[in-house]
């Protein structure tokens, strides 16, 4: 962390970059926030620890045209998003100084809350080592959980420890994957039609249409979302009815199909804990199955599967009912 901080201070001081996008120390031990630093003094509050899960690549859109370079701290999985944004001309690679920061899995405070930990005053063991126990000092007593138990869901299906794009890498990364990325999708695919419907109905009925999933998504970077503009008579209308939610979530996932890097931010930020990534991952799985393996953001030159085709692509009727017979 200190090495990273020193390097950032150096980059600002020697004028290599005009600003740094990173994480700022929170007022709780678990809530560092994405922030933009433009002076050495501001960088005093820079932090990088296990709770820095936020994907900062989307913030680079706003600074694309600012004067001077912008340094950005990207974890290996965030670099996929950045690459995808390069492909879509939303960020300026020349104007970016990418610091690939090491990542050994990021933490989800909800996991602690679910385990009954509350009244947190301090947390130990959330450094970038990403190992051992995390100790929670709470007003109701001390509690400990293993670092691995607290990992964000997405870290269990880690895409790997390599940065896809960077100017320099600081810190070691670790591949924290310990389960198959498509397990959850397969589980749902195996359900009966009625069970599937009931499952999603139950989950989606919690949706409050706050748009956090959309607004945090680096692929959902439209200047004006179709659900905010008047082109489809589909302006966001809160959760008017159950269909509305489904329409929103299907289209949200569809619009990022072939572009979604599976960064998992949508599920991380959902205040209602809806496993939104299950939609995106279904599309990813289908794309892999139908058109060959494709990882968005791996190669900024690669053609997205939905703007591509082959003469022999499978027919839509072959896409459904595969589980039957």
């Amino acid at each position: 962390m200190q090495e990273l901080k020193n390097r950032l201070i150096q980059l600002i001081s020697d004028g290599t970059v005009a600003r740094v996008i990173g994480w700022k120390k929170g007022d709780m031990p678990y809530n560092p926030e994405p922030a933009c630093f433009s002076t050495v003094e501001e960088l005093e509050d820079f932090v990088y620890d296990g709770f820095c899960g936020a994907n900062l690549s989307k913030m680079m859109i706003e600074v694309a045209n600012l004067e001077g370079k912008t340094a950005v701290c990207l974890k290996p999985c965030d670099t996929y998003s950045f690459n995808q944004l390069i492909r879509e001309h939303r960020v300026n690679r020349e104007n970016a100084y990418i610091i690939g920061v090491g990542c050994r899995g990021k933490l989800d405070i909800e996991k602690a809350r679910k385990a009954g930990i509350k009244g947190i005053e301090a947390i130990e063991g959330v450094g970038i080592e990403g190992e051992g126990d995390v100790t929670f000092k709470t007003i109701y007593g001390d509690k400990a959980m293993a670092y691995s138990e607290l990992l964000l869901d997405r870290c269990h299906v880690c895409k790997g420890k390599d940065h896809m794009v960077y100017d320099e890498v600081i810190g070691e990364s670790k591949d924290t994957a310990d389960s198959d990325r498509f397990d959850d999708v397969k589980k749902i695919e195996a359900m009966s039609s009625a069970e599937k419907f009931a499952y999603f109905q139950n989950e989606l009925s919690k949706c409050i249409r706050c748009n956090a999933c959309r607004n945090v998504c680096p692929a959902c970077s439209c200047r004006k979302c179709v659900f905010d503009n008047t082109k489809f008579d589909s302006q966001q209308r809160a959760n008017v009815d159950s269909f509305e939610e489904k329409m929103f979530h299907i289209i949200r996932a569809f619009h990022v199909a072939g572009r979604c890097t599976d960064c998992g931010e949508c599920s991380r930020v959902c205040p209602q804990g809806i496993p939104l990534h299950l939609f995106n991952r279904k599309f990813i799985k289908d794309i892999d199955d139908f058109y060959g393996e494709f990882q968005a953001g791996k190669d900024p030159e690669a053609q997205s599967p939905l703007t591509d085709f082959t003469f022999e692509d499978l027919e839509p009727k072959q896409a459904v009912g595969r589980g039957e017979n």
Binding site: G26, D27, M28, N31, P32, E33, P34, A35, C36, A54, M59, K118, G119, I120, E121, T138, I139, Y140, N202, E203, S205, K206, I208, R209, C210, N211, A212, R214, N215, V216, K224, D228, Q235, Q236, R237, A238, N239, V240, E265, R268, V269, P271, Q272, G273, I274
Partner: protein, 365 residues
């Protein structure tokens, strides 16, 4: 004061539900939110904070205001007889407005925490003070609020900063105050409405004066915990009525808004946010006019033909907090439009929240 065993709560819910709609924390797909209780619902009063506050009880996220149905009045001249004449007959249509339904039955909101109860007061100022919103009013008149003391406050709580007592719901505008003491729920009616509700469930309650001291102990315990909470000493000294000019033009906003996604999470989980939008939905033969929550964080909030009046996220971010901490107090005798429930502290995707805003200005000094 009355008591009922915690084991017997389901009978209490069933009893209430037999006479009223019972709106209370229900656990569904891993999350606890207010919802209507039924026998299949999983009641959950252990979770301190529902994701959304209970404000839906009075101000639902979506509410039909009225329907307009268009009917055609048949032309005087049958078209088949004389096409020429029919073509010239003006077409008559009738528009019929079918008003939305006002709530006319009493209902119960169970388990509301003191902070959320204060939220009702905040909304009352908006919906009942000058212009009276009849939809809201009907719900307020018929809603019976059963408030529950916060047995174990959490680190994101800071209601005490706003003078709210998490330990003692009887100081709130609720109709019934309740505590959980040992394995019992303590029940104390506060108002006439509360008494009426008590009468309905009386059979299940035990008159138990011995519990008073235990309640006092619970109040002391909660009060002590509250003092230890990290935000307990948050200072509002610099905020409140009359600070508009000073705060509005402060440079700090331009720094702290960065990273704000412009989503509506904070707004939708907040017990006090009460902005809404009114929209029309085309039905088969007319429109349905409904209102739904809106968020000042959205880029299309109060969008007009000429564009937004707050085109940048900085402006929108500032608006939300200025409204809570300056404008509202200015118009409402110093009452803040924040009750310190801490939901935004827990739910903001980018870990931004009202506390950080308050502190940002504090640190500046």
């Amino acid at each position: 004061m009355y008591t009922i065993s915690k084991d017997n709560l389901n009978s209490l819910y069933a009893k209430i539900a037999s006479s009223y709609d019972l709106f209370m924390p229900i656990k569904k797909a891993g999350q606890t939110n207010y919802g209507f209780w039924n026998e299949d619902a999983e009641a959950d009063i252990e979770t301190l904070k529902t994701v959304k506050s209970g404000k839906d009880a009075f101000f639902p996220q979506v509410e039909t205001l009225y329907n307009v149905n268009k009917t055609i009045i048949p032309a005087d001249v049958a078209a088949s007889d004389d096409a020429e004449k029919a073509a010239d007959t003006p077409i008559k249509t009738k528009l019929e407005v079918v008003p939305g339904k006002f709530v006319d039955q009493d209902f119960v909101i169970f388990g509301m925490k003191p902070c959320d109860v204060r939220g009702i007061e905040v909304m009352d100022n908006v919906f009942l003070k000058d212009f009276v919103d009849n939809y809201y009013k009907s719900r307020r008149e018929h809603g019976i609020v059963v408030s529950l003391a916060c047995h174990a406050p959490e680190e994101s709580c800071f209601c005490t900063v706003f003078g709210i007592d998490p330990a003692d719901p009887s100081k709130s505008v609720a109709d019934v105050a309740t505590w959980i003491v040992d394995d019992k729920l303590v029940w104390k009616p506060l108002t006439e409405k509360g008494e009426a509700l008590t009468a309905v469930v009386k059979d299940l309650l035990t008159d138990d004066s011995a519990v008073d001291s235990k309640v006092d102990a619970e109040i002391t315990s909660i009060t002590e915990i509250s003092k230890k909470l990290p935000y307990a000493n948050l200072s509002l000294e610099d905020w409140g009525a009359g600070k508009t000019d000073e705060k509005f033009n402060d440079e700090t906003w331009s720094k702290i808004y960065q990273g704000c996604l412009g989503c509506g999470t904070c707004t939708f989980v907040c017990p006090t946010c009460q902005c809404y939008d009114i929209k029309d939905y085309t039905t088969k033969n007319g429109i349905q006019r409904y209102r739904c929550w809106d968020s000042c964080m959205y880029s299309d909030f109060t969008l007009m033909a000429g564009g937004q009046n707050r085109p940048t996220q900085l402006q929108r971010f500032r608006q939300r907090f200025m409204h809570k901490l300056v404008y509202y107090p200015t118009n409402n005798d110093g009452m803040y439009m924040c009750v310190g429930c801490g939901r935004c502290v827990e739910k903001c995707p980018q870990s931004k929240n009202v506390v950080k805003v308050i502190k940002a200005f504090e640190n500046k000094k």
